[in-house]
């Protein structure tokens, strides 16, 4: 087992390096530069003379390999440099936005699973039944609602018309801090949470449904029924447990996504998360911030896939013995 983990870790390193090089190249070879993007569409134009001076200021006049070497040598010391846009340390900017995105996306994932798993198990327990058909239709309808449109519609209804929920933001201007403000903050979470959840329901519910439908006729489920377990017990204790494996694999791939906020939802609900930071940084060609966020995403993806692999190996001896690729 130790050997298996060590070999996977060793493999992850060149992958990480590959990702970093690729992102760095893509970024610098793409058209536009921090200078042309300065201030965005409401910014003012520089004459090319002034632009060249700025290029020098940001070190963009140096050859690409030199810039890469410089960046990498700083990154290994965990120094991500400063943002080109506001000249603050990159980590400070990420640190500001990360908790908001983790909170919103984490809760959305929990909520999704809480709804999607029972839905999937019940649908899969009797495929093509009335429940399955209705759930399928509902899920696909939700899946095809564009987030932008749905979010504005929910805002118009619940905030503008009914005044039940706040329009946007993390907390009211006057809300108290600490536990007393909890209700207010939860109210602010409601709409973005709903918007993030409804679209991903379909994915998880259909995944669970497919796995459960697959195993419901398996010998051990039939044996369980024969032992006198109710349909419900057989479904949840035996069919669902085995159907859980593909879900875990998928979660390993989905979890890193917690770090990449949804740009659209964050913009509409004025949620100060990583999605907006990433998006604005790309528009502004804020190389240090883009590189740091890409690196963060890459490391998280590699670590969590690795964790999923290890969990899999622990669960299935065939994997760690190399019998199954």
């Amino acid at each position: 087992m130790t050997r298996y983990v060590a070999s996977r870790l060793l493999l992850a390193l060149p992958t990480l390096f590959g990702i970093v090089v690729l992102v760095f190249l893509l970024l610098h070879l793409a058209p536009g530069s921090p200078v042309t993007a300065a201030g965005g569409e409401s910014g003012r134009r520089f004459s090319q003379k002034a632009a060249q001076e700025m290029q020098r200021l940001y070190g963009l006049d140096r050859p690409l390999p030199e810039r890469f070497a410089k960046w990498i040598s700083r990154v290994v010391r965990l120094d991500f440099g400063e943002s080109f846009v506001d000249h603050r340390p990159v980590l400070e900017r990420i640190d500001e936005a990360l908790p908001y995105t983790l909170l919103l996306n984490g809760l959305a994932l929990l909520l999704t699973l809480a709804i999607a798993v029972p839905m999937g198990v019940l649908s899969g327990g009797r495929p093509e039944g009335a429940l399955d058909t209705a759930a399928g239709a509902l899920l696909f309808a939700l899946y095809s609602l564009p987030a932008f449109w749905a979010a504005l519609l929910l805002q118009s209804l619940f905030s503008v018309k009914l005044h039940w929920l706040p329009l946007y933001g993390v907390a009211s201007d006057t809300a108290p801090a600490g536990w007393e403000g909890l209700g207010d903050r939860l109210a602010h979470l409601a709409l973005p949470l709903v918007c993030l959840t409804y679209g991903s329901l379909a994915f998880f519910a259909r995944l669970v449904r497919a796995s459960v439908a697959d195993v419901r006729q398996a010998d051990y489920v039939i044996a369980a029924r024969a032992r006198g377990l109710s349909r419900r017990q057989a479904l949840w204790r035996h069919a669902f447990r085995n159907a859980l494996l593909p879900l875990i694999t998928v979660l390993g791939l989905v979890l890193p996504g917690l770090l990449s906020g949804s740009v659209i939802i964050e913009k509409i609900f004025a949620w100060p998360g990583l999605g907006r930071l990433y998006f604005d940084s790309i528009l502004a060609r804020d190389y240090p911030v883009i590189l740091a966020l890409s690196l963060l995403g890459a490391v998280a993806t590699l670590l969590l896939t690795l964790a999923a692999d290890i969990a899999y190996a622990a669960a299935d001896p065939r994997v760690r013995d190399g019998m199954v690729p």
Partner: protein, 565 residues
């Protein structure tokens, strides 16, 4: 898609430049006297509520920012949100009033040398920073040096001081700035804010903490800045002139306009800019719309399609004229702007004094345009449906920033008309940074752009004179006409405003006939404002470009309505 330029403008400089030739004239700048309501513009009402009602103090004004400021260092500012916040905390040396006249800011007066190269400023004795220390000449010298420093990106002000020879303090409240050449609009260069030298001493200018917590010499100071959420201001208790009416000003950072619209409807916001679609939505909103009023006015911005005058397609003025005549600008006004726009015939908006209203725009006339293309040698010799000349097909890319729907719609209309006369224009939306990189590099044939003038200077020299071709300047069209060059130079030296305007009017005709670009429309600026907000004054310089602008606003209730949440 703005090409934000250091504009210039309008009716300024009456009292100032006209006297430049007399020995040591002295110009006193006092706050403007209360004015009678000016004549309303024909199309849209010009609002001046500054003398209406008795202002009530108190409450919070909630405004919208469309993006997060990158800095609140007044020298480094470059975007509209930055300008909107800084207007409350950083006073300018001089200011524009709502009609584009220069008025006193931190400076109480200035005088110019007889040769027009030297400007001597005197600061107001009462002007102080938020800790009570005086605003000094040393601060002014420090700020001008920072603007002039090649290592400091100061896109808004850099160009104003490119011609600077020296600047020095001649007393605690006096300084003198010398320039290489006299320039008719020089005084407008001094519409810029000052930074406190002491606070920046020994610090890295680009990274100083003051860039996020600016030291105020204006009516408000920053209380909090929550990244991507909001910026809150409170009154600066040490402010040295008439204080603002609101106790607090809250800027909400709301990137999405439809969301800002919803916020207006639920009375969570007092002001936002809207587009044509938002205006129509508001006008059909019924009772929900009782929250706000629609305020609409023209400023100096305009749309145009930049043509690369060096390209084989557009080096001939007849071809450029033909393209202008193929764009149905009347239809653009009706269908894209729903009537709230004006067709323009030169590189100024109609409210600019440089604009000659007698220079009629070229008509929409496809037949005459086709004849012009024939005359320029563009004929379909190989019968493939596209005109060609010397073996080259008349096919080009029409670039547009992907973020703008207006520019895209204008381009599509032009492309459709061009196809009818045998010219192929492919509309190519590009993401902003890539788009502007190609414009800056001169690597384009035609591109849809918006001009955004932010002050009252109408001088076309930096953008249309042949000495200002890239990489030196911002004449991205590579336009060159010796007669136009000569007139532009002459106007810069002409101290008499009437004569200068006459020169610009002659230039206007040349610009129309040369058509270095397709000048399209000047469209209205539209805002939703809470009904409780009073004291609005609109101006062609926009709210950010004038003093006191939004600082003169007040709330009829003096306190915000009960929060909707």
């Amino acid at each position: 898609m703005n090409r934000r330029l250091l504009g210039l403008t309008i009716a300024v400089c009456l009292a100032l430049a006209c006297r430049e030739r007399e020995p040591a004239p002295r110009v006193s700048l006092s706050p403007p006297p209360p004015t009678a309501a000016p004549t309303p513009l024909p199309e849209l009402g010009y609002i001046d509520e500054s003398q209406m009602g008795t202002p009530v103090d108190g409450g919070t004004l909630r405004r919208r920012l469309s993006g997060e400021p990158a800095t609140l260092n007044a020298v480094l500012q470059s975007t509209l949100p930055e300008q909107q916040v800084l207007q409350y905390v950083s006073r300018n040396l001089l200011d524009f009033d709502s009609r584009g006249q220069l008025v006193a800011g931190l400076a109480e007066s200035f005088e110019t040398s007889p040769d027009g190269r030297e400007y001597r400023f005197t600061l107001r004795p009462e002007a102080v920073w938020e800790d009570g220390s005086p605003v000094t000449a040393a601060d002014a010298v420090f700020t001008i040096h920072r603007i002039h420093d090649p290592k400091i990106p100061s896109p808004v002000f850099k160009q104003l001081f490119e011609d600077l020879v020296s600047v020095e303090a001649t007393g605690p409240r006096r300084f003198v700035a010398r320039f290489r050449e006299p320039y008719a609009y020089r005084a407008m260069s001094f519409v810029f804010p000052l930074l406190p030298e002491r606070r920046y001493a020994g610090k890295n200018f680009l990274k100083a903490a003051e860039n996020r917590q600016p030291f105020s010499d204006g009516p408000y100071r920053i209380v909090s800045w929550k990244a991507q959420e909001s910026i809150e201001l409170e009154r600066n208790s040490r402010y040295w002139a008439a204080r603002g009416h609101f106790d607090r000003v809250l800027f909400r950072i709301l990137p999405e306009e439809p969301v800002a619209y919803n916020a207006m409807m639920s009375r969570d916001l007092d002001e936002t800019q809207i587009d044509t679609e938002g205006k129509e939505r508001f006008q059909s909103s019924g009772p929900a719309g009782s929250c706000c009023r629609l305020v609409e006015y023209y400023n100096l911005d305009y749309n145009y399609i930049s043509l690369n005058n060096r390209s084989p397609f557009f080096s001939d003025a007849r071809v450029r004229r033909a393209l202008t005549m193929l764009l149905d600008r009347g239809k653009i006004v009706r269908s894209i702007f729903r009537g709230s726009a004006r067709v323009i015939s030169g590189p100024w908006a109609p409210d600019s004094p440089a604009y000659d209203p007698t220079v009629a725009p070229l008509p929409f006339d496809p037949a005459q345009a086709a004849a012009l293309l024939e005359a320029a040698g563009w004929r379909d010799t190989n019968g493939n449906g596209t005109r060609d000349r010397g073996g080259k097909e008349f096919e080009f890319d029409l670039l547009v920033s992907a973020g703008t729907t207006t520019g895209r719609e204008i381009d599509e209309m032009l492309s459709t008309e061009l196809a009818r006369v045998g010219v192929t224009a492919r509309v190519r939306p590009l993401e902003w940074a890539s788009f502007i990189e190609r414009i800056d590099a001169g690597d384009f044939e035609a591109a849809s752009l918006a001009w955004s003038a932010s002050d009252a200077n109408p001088d076309p020299y930096p953008f249309w004179h042949s000495s200002q071709w890239p990489p030196q300047g911002l004449n991205n069209e590579f336009y060159k006409n010796p007669e136009a060059d000569r007139l532009m130079e002459e106007a810069r030296r002409e101290a008499d405003e009437k004569k200068r305007v006459a020169i610009y009017h002659r230039l206007h005709t040349i610009f129309r006939d040369d058509a270095p670009a397709i000048f399209v429309t000047n469209s209205s600026q539209k805002y939703l404002i809470s009904r409780r907000v009073r004291g609005l004054v609109t101006s062609f310089l926009g709210w950010q470009g004038i003093w006191p602008g939004p600082i003169g606003w007040w709330a009829s209730d003096g306190a915000p309505p009960a929060p909707a949440r």
